[in-house]
Homo-oligomer: 185 residues x 2
DNA sequence: CACGTTTGCCAACACTTGTTGGCCTACACT
DNA sequence: AGTGTAGGCCAACAAGTGTTGGCAAACGTG
């Protein structure tokens, strides 16, 4: 039952292959067989190590957003800092893949949607702190950031893809800043 | 080969059932058998009428956004009008289902993504008019609106779901207004 | 009324899916 | 060296998929 050092290599190979497949195809179309083939291993081993396809998925999307401590920043820079951190997460090799997996499959798989919900209900909401309408503000921020990620990394809308990170940050930061700070309707 | 009046009822039943199933489950998990069962008809008829599952899908996502003429509005109301129109499209029974289908499957299906791209590259961009950076502005608008739709109708983030349409319009309108009118970075 | 066409269902096909059990090999430990 | 345990692959399963062909009944048209 317990893991030994010898199998760690296979486990890791399976996990990275799973992330890549899940990211590329989404939960439903990514098959255990394809993941196993990418990892150069038998499909049955995938089940043996991770229990089921869903267990593998859960292991593949285990990510800490590592949101910075925004409370210690000058209030008027929170928006820009937050947007930049989020976008650089997406641009990165590892986290970007995990986030792609999450978003791609949260759209069709309810388990992934639940995971996304908790991530943005806990990590984002607490990072932003906030009073009684804190959750609403966090959700508005999420709507803009997830929308941007959707258009840039999933749908690949050309005008959004064409922008470099700095320009995108400059465009989005005021929006996020307003959702965090300005009074709501 | 040609359609007769007698079959129109079944065709329509299949189409509405397909829209509902595609919207609820996404392309992959919506099975022809389930759609046929919902329509109270044999699965083979679905294929006979629409050729294949993909043909049925193509027929199910045939929608005109019916974007209003924004040019004739006072410039400072364009944002709010646009946001409200978009949200009410989503709230509506028929169009909302089609949009859900489109977004749900654009994330994993490349054909649907292409359809989405052209919709937001042509319909939205031309509705907003605009000069040389018009496409960029339109894409930024799309990022916020699609993000909001994603959070509200797909991921169902509670704080976004809890808002009524008026409140959401009030929160999002300034963002869209800024993307349309204010200078970009 | 008889004809051909259309509608519809049943059964089946060929295939893919996640998952399981059996068997052999290679390692670790005493 | 001998033994127990874990790694790994093969083959197979049961279930579900989209799709096809054949056949009975209902229809519209002459």
């Amino acid at each position: 039952m317990a893991f030994t050092a010898r199998s760690q290599e296979s486990r890791a190979a399976i996990l990275t292959a799973a992330r890549r497949r899940f990211a590329a195809d989404g939960y439903e179309r990514a098959t255990v067989r394809a993941i196993a083939a990418d990892a150069g291993i038998d499909p049955s081993m995938v089940i043996r190590y991770y229990g089921s396809k869903e267990g593998l998925f859960a292991a593949a999307v285990d990510l800490d957003l590592r949101l910075p401590d925004l409370a210690s920043l000058p209030p008027d820079q929170v928006g820009e800092t937050f947007v930049r951190h989020f976008l650089e997460l997406w641009e990165g090799e590892g986290p970007g893949e995990v986030l792609t997996v999450l978003l791609r499959s949260a759209v069709t798989n309810d388990g992934a949607a639940e995971r996304m919900r908790t991530i943005f209900a806990t990590q984002v909401a607490t990072a932003l702190g906030g009073g009684e309408d804190g959750p609403t503000r966090a959700a508005l921020v999420a709507s803009q950031l997830l929308g941007a990620a959707l258009c840039r990394y999933i749908l690949r809308l050309p005008p959004i893809v064409a922008l470099d990170v700095d320009a995108l940050v400059a465009d989005l930061a005021p929006t996020v800043q307003r959702y965090i700070g300005e009074p709501l309707a």
